[in-house]
């Protein structure tokens, strides 16, 4: 496999008057879970369709596993797996038959199919229910099965389009756990679109943020947090009145200060020494119970990036 799983250069796709993907350039290294983040309508699904060679770009080019997505689309599809917007399962068939069909599609031998289906369904905890019609399954179980189908033929790269969208917390966590475990165990590159920032933060080795088809930022979640948001101090206690807030806002090391969910949140400049600030607050009568240092979450970074773009 190449060092770079996906290489995109100036990729553009227009739909009549709408530009869905706008000059996107990106490299996705092999062997990581790559998060492709953006709000609804940002161009995430269109990008996946372009990378799978299902759509032709208006301009630019993309290479997946070293194959041109336009000239060698069949080669791309032969080496990748996909879980798209919908699970895409045949609900009148059993779980086993759904996987059996795709095993045949990928030209796996009967012995390979049998072993792999057992391995994946056992891993997902649904082997005992393999003969049941998929239509009778819960949404979370269907999504797990769809994930198993995407990984069935051991592709080096899989595309997952919002795999936990619409699932309850328990089902989403189960799908996320399976995805993480399988990705690590099988060393597969995952191109994951999501607008769940906690999911991206937990799973992704690298993320790209797009808005209106344009790339806004790319890097490790920590890098994005460091680039977009500085250090943060959270103080729990009592006595956070206007005088304290006004005093904090006059300090040069404080970027912003405010009360959130009954705690004081202070955004600081890089390299700020926290101890004098805590002493200052105690001296003004604040009763401090707990002090936490942290950084902005990926969700806050994402919102900041979206605001900047506006």
């Amino acid at each position: 496999m190449t060092e770079t799983a996906i290489r995109i250069e100036n990729l553009t796709r227009d739909f009549e008057t709408v530009r869905a993907v706008d000059g996107l350039s990106l490299e996705v290294p092999s062997g990581i879970i790559f998060g492709f983040l953006g709000p609804n309508g940002a161009g995430k699904t269109t990008t996946i369709n372009l990378l799978l060679g299902l759509l032709e770009p208006t301009d630019g080019l993309a290479e997946v596993l070293g194959f041109d997505t336009q000239a060698q689309a069949d080669e791309v599809r032969a080496r990748t797996g996909a879980l798209l917007e919908h699970p895409g399962l045949y609900e009148q068939l059993s779980a086993e038959d759904n996987l059996e069909f795709y095993g045949r599609v990928w030209h796996m031998t009967p012995a390979e199919r049998q072993a792999r289906i057992k391995e994946l369904l056992t891993h997902m905890g649904v082997w005992e229910r393999r003969k049941e019609r998929v239509g009778t399954w819960s949404k979370g179980m269907k999504q797990k099965l769809a994930l198993a189908r995407a990984m069935l033929h051991r592709p080096p790269l899989i595309f997952l389009d919002e795999p936990t969208a619409g699932l309850d917390v328990v089902a989403a966590t189960a799908v996320r756990d399976d995805l993480e475990a399988l990705a690590v165990r099988e060393g597969v590159t995952v191109f994951l679109t999501t607008h769940n920032m906690a999911e991206a933060e937990r799973l992704c080795g690298q993320v790209a943020v797009i808005r209106e088809g344009r790339l806004v930022a790319v890097g490790h979640p920590d890098e994005l947090r460091a680039r977009t948001g500085g250090p943060r101090l959270e103080i729990f206690g009592r006595g956070f009145n206007d005088n304290v807030l006004n005093l904090l806002r006059t300090r040069p090391e404080v970027v912003a200060a405010g009360v959130q969910n009954e705690h004081l949140a202070i955004d600081l400049r890089e390299g700020t020494d926290v101890a004098p600030l805590v002493s200052l607050m105690v001296s003004t009568g604040v009763q401090v119970e707990e002090v936490r240092r942290g950084k902005a979450s990926l969700e806050e970074v994402f919102l900041t990036l979206m605001e900047e773009e506006r």
Binding site: N49, L52, G53, L54, L55, E56, A73, D74, R77, A78, T80, A82, L83, L84, E85, H86, P87, G88, L89, Y90, E91, Q92, L93, D97, F101, Y102, R104, V105, W106, H107, R133, G135, A146, R149, F159
Partner: protein, 248 residues
């Protein structure tokens, strides 16, 4: 490519055995026409079913009805049930998907029509036994075998094109039924026109029937169907392309 077609056929066949999720529905879908056309009709019509052109009714209508139900389920159904995207994202060639689906629908309809002809023949012989086995004439046997296949292919080709333009299975089935029944209604109107509009229509119609060569008519109809089938199949091949399907 051939193994890919077989794979698609395997999936279609599995789905067929669980029509709308139920094996009972699938069996009923097979039994009802079998009882109506294979048992009830021979009982009513008797020897004329084998000796005359009555058997052509089953050869025309069975493929029309069963392919008319199956092709929209297979093509428009993939889109309606959101399974098409995943299928297109796989390594299956466009033509393997198209041919695999069409082959199962046509094969099922053709097989059913042939089975009905056989059941009808047995029924007529059993209920109207006169010491001699009654058989279809060679030209009628050929007409039944060929017409049922050609009709199934015709409705399949038309069904693919209609299904690709329909938002739902129901819409595709209704449009396809209308499109296949309309020419038959028109054909029925020709004798009526001859009778009522053309001067001396009755005499002319009688003359036409008396002088017509059934073998020639059957061969002409089959030749027209072959041309139509090929045209529709080529149109379906041109239309059934990933880049177009993903945008529909």
């Amino acid at each position: 490519m051939f193994s890919d077609i077989l794979t698609v056929m395997w999936k279609e066949r599995k789905g067929l055995l669980r029509y709308q999720g139920s094996r009972t529905r699938a069996v009923l879908g097979l039994l009802i026409p079998m009882v109506m056309l294979g048992i009830y009709l021979p009982l009513q019509i008797g020897r004329a079913l084998v000796e005359g052109p009555w058997s052509l009714v089953a050869s025309v209508f069975i493929p029309m009805m069963s392919v008319g139900m199956m092709i929209p389920e297979s093509f428009a159904g993939e889109r309606e049930r959101h399974t098409l995207g995943t299928l297109l994202a796989s390594r299956l060639p466009d033509r393997a998907i198209l041919f695999g689906k069409v082959a199962v629908a046509v094969g099922y309809a053709w097989g059913m029509a042939l089975m009905l002809l056989l059941v009808s023949l047995v029924m007529v012989n059993v209920t109207h036994w006169d010491g001699q086995v009654l058989l279809y004439t060679p030209i009628m046997a050929l007409a039944n075998v060929a017409l049922s296949l050609l009709m199934a292919s015709l409705v399949a080709g038309l069904g693919v094109l209609i299904s690709l333009r329909s938002a739902t299975v129901q819409e595709a089935q209704q449009t396809l039924m209308a499109a296949t029944l309309f020419p038959l209604v028109l054909l029925q109107m020709i004798p009526l026109l001859l009778l009522n509009v053309v001067p001396d229509g009755k005499a002319r119609l009688r003359e036409l029937v008396a002088t017509a060569n059934p073998t020639q008519i059957i061969l002409i109809v089959m030749a027209v169907l072959v041309v139509l089938d090929l045209g529709l199949l080529m149109a379906a091949m041109a239309r059934f392309k990933r880049a177009r399907l993903i945008l529909d």
